[in-house]
């Protein structure tokens, strides 16, 4: 009973502190941003949510369907390696695409100097080799295991 009470106190305290800090931030924004900038901020936030919830997650879910189908012929471990490699590659690609876009509009002398497209190609090459080797080894081990203990 007293534990429940103290947990309730912690929750209330945390919630109140959170609300106060959040409110401080919300109150601070209009002190330095004009109405047009605030409107721009809210619009960008809404677009960020829409892009994430409406594009990124559905796309990754669609990719997941394909992977479930493709992976069903593989050992669970190698199917997981395949998914993990694609997840990593997709994320790094997203980052590199932002860099390439920024590079096309950049004007600074010692910023964005690398050849990111080539680096991305190298990254995918290494990732593919690592993933393929891991999948082949896991599949071979899995098949050997299955032939030893037939189910």
């Amino acid at each position: 009973m007293s534990e429940r009470k103290s947990r309730r106190t912690i929750r209330l305290g945390l919630g109140a502190a959170g609300l106060a800090i959040l409110g401080y931030g919300l109150a601070g924004l209009p002190s330095q941003l004009g109405p047009a900038q605030l409107l721009g901020l809210v619009t960008w936030m809404a677009v960020a949510i829409l892009l994430h919830d409406g594009v990124l997650v559905p796309l990754s879910t669609a990719a997941g369907f394909g992977l479930t189908r493709a992976g069903s012929k593989l050992q669970p471990a190698s199917a997981a390696v395949l998914r993990g490699a694609l997840l990593t590659g997709a994320l790094v690609t997203l980052l590199a695409l932002l860099l390439l876009k920024a590079q096309s509009v950049a004007r600074k002398s010692t910023v964005l100097e690398s050849d990111y497209a080539t680096n991305l190609a190298w990254f995918w090459a290494v990732l593919a080799v690592v993933a393929v080797v891991a999948v082949v080894l896991l599949e071979r081990r899995g098949r050997r295991g299955r032939s030893r203990r037939p189910r």
């Binding site: 949510i49 990593t88 980052l95 590199a96 600074k108």
Partner: protein, 403 residues
């Protein structure tokens, strides 16, 4: 009628998006990492902000000399790491978005509104934070101010979110706690049962287990960190594939943010009539470059570390600021105003608290890595102080005034 259609639609969608890999336990595990990353970003960010816009009680640590290099390197790296963690966290709770009815009560409506604010500001914060390090500003609001206030909004929302979800968090805190040990039947399926199956054939053909997903998220986070953190940490420099900066580039092997051309300062800086004005009260003294060179010279290895996360260790040589203050009879314990030759710019005038002015390693640098300062590095003379953001290491000096 409408209500039923809405429910049918969201239930159909929820079924489409269902994955047995989702579970409260997964959300708690990823949420913990994300909460730590956000908190690290918040604290290092407050430190950086305090150095640039100091409140009256601000402390200015000058040792270790790489303190800002470290704190800002961590800030940017933790921010980059939080991108995959945020995406994984949001994916794990995606079906919540489709819950019906969308608002059950006033309290529920408020909670959803607070979540929308939390999610929207977090997505915006990590994306604009990353793109800002590319020196690209495609948005219609000022970056620094927005980043600062949103940080409060996000961290406050984080505490509020933890308070609201505390029962679920503590029930799934460890694999052995009650909520996680029991099967967890909900709309998204049960992964705890799935995990038990891992040894005997996995969570279903072609699917992956929670552990496998967590391993992949860790790998993806590791990949973005390892391929970008080389701009902040020298030992990772060989793997720097996707950071906007590379160590050792730029004139004299040091990157440049603002060139002499950007600052429109070349003529004034190259003028043979240039002299550094040092003043304290009614005492004024002017030092030509030759006179500065004739003073005792000190050499220090100090990093230049930018708010954008990149940093570079370099050898600086020049006159100690405290020695210059002595020539006008000022105490080394003086707050200073340092002005650049730049005709305009947000950092043309820089305030230097006494903690830096009195420091043995704070220099009016005339040389960088053994050679006369390059024009883009602040020729004829610039400030270099331990533990300060790069924008406060004023280049192309015009005057140093005791306040």
């Amino acid at each position: 009628m409408h209500k039923r259609d809405g429910r049918q639609l969201t239930e159909w969608l929820a079924a489409k998006f269902a994955s047995p890999t989702r579970s409260t336990r997964l959300t708690v595990v990823v949420g913990r990492w994300l909460g730590i990353a956000f908190t690290v970003c918040f604290l290092t960010g407050l430190f950086s902000h305090g150095l640039q816009n100091p409140p009256a009680w601000m402390v200015f640590p000058t040792r270790p000399v790489w303190i800002y290099q470290l704190s800002q390197g961590i800030h940017v790296t933790a921010g980059i790491a939080s991108i995959p963690l945020l995406l994984a966290k949001l994916w794990s709770v995606y079906p919540e978005l489709l819950s019906w009815p969308p608002i059950k009560s006033v309290a529920h409506g408020l909670e959803r509104a607070s979540i929308a604010l939390f999610v929207g500001s977090s997505l915006l914060q990590v994306t604009t934070g990353l793109i800002n390090t590319y020196k690209w500003y495609p948005w219609p609001f000022p970056f620094r101010e927005t980043h600062y206030w949103l940080a409060w909004v996000i961290w406050g929302s984080l505490l509020l979110h933890i308070a609201i979800k505390l029962p679920a968090i503590s029930a799934h805190w460890s694999r052995r706690t009650r909520g996680s040990a029991l099967a967890n039947p909900d709309a998204t399926g049960t992964t705890d049962a799935a995990e038990v199956e891992v040894g005997t054939g996995g969570p279903g053909p072609g699917r992956w287990s929670r552990r496998a997903l967590l391993t992949a998220v860790t790998a993806a986070t590791g990949a973005v960190v390892v391929t970008t953190a080389g701009q902040s940490f020298a030992w990772l420099a060989p793997l720097n594939l996707f950071a906007p900066r590379r160590m050792g580039t730029g004139p004299q092997g040091v990157p440049v943010n603002r060139t002499a051309a950007d600052a429109n300062v070349a003529d004034a800086a190259m003028s043979p009539a240039w002299a550094l004005l040092v003043s304290s009260g009614s005492v004024d003294r002017s030092f030509t470059l030759e006179q500065l060179k004739a003073m005792p010279q000190y050499s220090h290895e100090l990093p230049i570390a930018c708010v954008e996360g990149w940093s570079q260790l370099a050898t600086w040589r020049g006159v100690r600021v405290r020695d210059l203050l002595a020539t006008v009879g000022a105490s080394p314990e003086s707050d200073l105003r340092v002005t650049s030759l730049e005709p305009e710019g947000a950092y043309r005038i820089m305030s230097m608290p006494a903690e830096y002015a009195r420091d043995d390693q704070t220099l009016v640098a005339l040389e960088l890595n053994g050679r006369v300062l390059d024009l883009d590095h602040g020729y004829p003379a610039r400030i270099i102080a331990p533990g300060r953001p790069g924008v406060l290491q004023t280049k192309w000096l015009q005057s140093v005034e005791v306040l």
